[in-house]
Assembly symmetry: C2
Homo-oligomer: 330 residues x 2
C-alpha cells in the first residue's frame, strides 16, 4: 500500500482555475486513498468544495498572484496568496509537496524563497518529461536558470538522473549535453566547459546531443541551461502543434479526405496522447525541499490530476532526500 | 533578362557527391541561360562533365576536405581542395559566388579565411529559411557563431532583413529576438542586452519571440546566437521527422489505414514539400564578400539546383553590397 502523503495545491493556478483544479483534485483523491490534499484559495471556493470531498482540507487565502506580476516581488508582497501559502505549508511540514499550474516564474520564486533549496544544491532546476512518440525523455533545465555555470549543469544531470530512475523507472539513464555537434570540442565555450565537467564527474554521461536527437529519444536525459532548454521545449511544442493543425486542414479539405481521416482516427488519437504535455501534467522544480511541481498554465483536469499524482510519487520515493545525498557539492 | 552570373561550385560537397552535384549543376544551368558555373573537383569527374554541358567550366583540384577534419586546419593545409579552390575563385573575382554542400564547418572556415568578410561586418552569420507550412521564415545565426556579443545580433538582424527583402521579397520584415518570454526583462543577461540594442537601433524590431513562435511563423525573422539557433533548427527538423515517421507507421498499420492514406496523399506531399529543407537548398553565410551558400550534407539534386539558384539570386540582387552599406559599424 502506498505511503500516506499530504500535498498542498494552489486552487487558483492556471488559465482555467479554479474549475479544472477542483476537478483534478477530486479525481486524484478518488484514485489514491492514501493521499490528502490541502487546497489553498478563496474561502468561497475551497470551503464548500472541501466539505464535499473526502481527505480534502480547505486553506482559505485572500490574495492572488497574476501572470503579469513580477514573480519575486509578488511573492514577497502577497504573503496570503494561494501560491505563497501553499509553499509555506511545505516549509512548515504541514504538507510534503506542493502543486500549482500558476505562473511558472511566481512558482519558482515562491518555491525558492518560501520552501528553500536542498542543502548543497546551487540552483533548483525545472525539469520536464518531453512527450515523444518514441519514449519519454527528460530535459533539464527548461527555464528556471537562464544564465548557468558549468557546475550547475552537473547538478542538473544528477538531479534529473534521480528523477528519471525513481519516477520513470529507467535505471542508469543515459545523459547527454545539448550541444551543436557531437565531437567533444564542439559548441560554445560554456558547452565545452560543461562537457569536460560532465565527462569527468558523471558516470552515466553519454556525450553531446543535438536538437535533432530529442524527439527521436536518442538519449534518456538532455541537460542544458534554462535558456536553451526553454527555447527548445517550446520549439518542439510549436512544431508539433503547427504540423497537427496543418494535417487537420488536409483531413478536412474534402469529403473523401474526411473519410480517409476516419481510418486513422484511433492511431492519431494515441499519437496525440503520447505527445501531449497533459500526460505527465507538470514539471518538478528539482532541488527545492519537499516537492514542488509546476503545471502548464493551460492544464486541463487530467493534467492537474496527473501533476498531483507525480507530486505524490516524488514525495513517496523521496527524490529530494536522494538529491541531498547525491549532488556534488560545489 | 537576368544579369549574367558566374558561380563556383564544389563538386565534392555532400553525402551524395559528386553525382547529385553534377545533376544539380546540369539542371540549374538548363533553367538559367545567364548562369555560368566553374565546377571544382577531381579532373576525372569535372572535365568529362564540363565537356558535355554548356556554360560549365572544369577547375580540376587534387585534394578533398573530409567531414571529420578540423575545419580551419584543413582549410589552411589543403589549398588545392575543391572547397578552398572554389572560394579562391570568388576571392580572385573569377566567380561571383560559391556553393557547396560539404562540411558546414569547413565551408565557414574557407569562406571566412579565403574570401573574407565584408568591411564593417564583425561576424558572418549562417542564415536559413525555416521551412514552415505557414510561410517561410528566416533564422540567423544557425551555427556560425556559438559565442556571440549583443552587437553581433544587431548585424545579424540587419543582414537577415536584407536577405529576406531581396530573396523572399518580404518588405520590411518583422524581426524578433529568440528569447524565453515576451516581456522586455525576460531571458539571459545576453538576451536582455541584445533586446535593448535591437530596440534602440533596429527600426523593424518587433520584440521577443519564444520557440513556439517559429513554426507558426508569428514573425518573419528570428535572430539569435549560433548556439541557440542551431539547437532550435535541428529540434524543428528532428520533431518534424519523428512525427512524420510515426504518422507513416499509423498509415501502414492496416489495409484500411493504407486506403485512408491514399485520400490525403496529395495534401501530405504538398506539406512535405513545404517543410522540406530541399526547397531552398542551402543557407547563405551572410557577411562574407560575394556570396557563399552552404547546402545540407544530405542534399539531393533538387536541393543542389535550388541552392545554386539562390546563390545566383544573392549575387544578382547584390545582397553583399547592400549589407556593406547597411550594417551598423561597431
Amino acid at each position: 500500500m502506498p505511503e500516506k502523503v499530504i500535498l498542498s495545491v494552489d486552487a487558483l493556478g492556471g488559465d482555467n482555475a479554479p474549475d479544472v483544479v477542483l476537478d483534478g483534485v477530486k479525481a486524484a483523491l478518488a484514485e489514491d486513498e492514501n493521499l490528502e490534499i490541502i487546497l489553498c484559495g478563496p474561502a468561497e471556493v475551497v470551503e464548500p468544495f472541501a466539505a464535499g470531498v473526502a481527505r480534502c482540507t480547505a486553506q482559505p487565502t485572500t490574495e492572488f498572484i497574476d501572470m503579469g506580476e513580477h514573480p519575486a516581488e509578488a511573492v514577497r508582497r502577497k504573503k496570503d496568496s494561494s501560491l505563497v501559502v501553499g509553499c509555506r505549508l511545505v516549509k512548515e511540514s504541514r504538507a510534503q509537496g506542493f502543486f500549482s499550474a500558476g505562473s511558472t516564474g511566481a512558482c519558482l520564486a515562491a518555491a525558492t524563497l518560501v520552501i528553500g533549496r536542498i542543502k548543497g544544491v546551487s540552483r533548483p532546476a525545472l525539469t520536464t518529461i518531453v512527450p515523444s512518440p518514441v519514449k519519454p525523455v527528460v530535459m533539464c533545465d527548461i527555464g528556471a536558470n537562464a544564465d548557468c555555470k558549468a557546475e550547475y549543469l552537473l547538478q542538473f544531470a544528477q538531479m534529473a538522473t534521480i528523477y528519471m530512475e525513481e519516477i520513470l523507472h529507467v535505471k542508469n539513464p543515459r545523459v547527454a549535453l545539448l550541444n551543436i555537434g557531437e565531437e567533444e570540442t564542439k559548441g560554445s565555450l560554456f558547452a565545452q566547459e560543461a562537457f569536460a565537467l560532465l565527462k569527468a564527474q558523471l558516470p552515466n554521461f553519454a556525450g553531446n546531443a543535438e536538437g535533432g536527437d530529442i524527439l527521436p529519444a536518442n538519449f534518456d536525459i538532455f541537460v542544458t541551461d534554462g535558456f536553451t532548454g526553454n527555447v527548445c521545449l517550446k520549439t518542439i511544442e510549436g512544431t508539433s502543434k503547427t504540423l497537427f493543425k496543418t494535417l487537420k486542414e488536409i483531413f478536412y479539405s474534402s469529403a473523401l479526405t474526411k473519410l480517409g481521416a476516419l481510418t486513422i482516427k484511433g492511431g492519431l488519437s494515441d499519437l496525440m496522447v503520447k505527445v501531449s504535455p497533459d500526460t505527465y501534467g507538470g514539471a518538478p522544480l528539482l532541488g527545492v525541499k519537499g516537492a514542488c511541481i509546476v503545471g502548464h498554465g493551460s492544464s486541463n483536469a487530467l493534467a492537474i490530476k496527473n501533476g498531483i499524482h507525480t507530486t505524490a510519487e516524488i514525495v513517496r520515493t523521496d527524490v529530494s532526500g536522494l538529491i541531498e545525498k547525491t549532488v556534488s557539492k560545489p
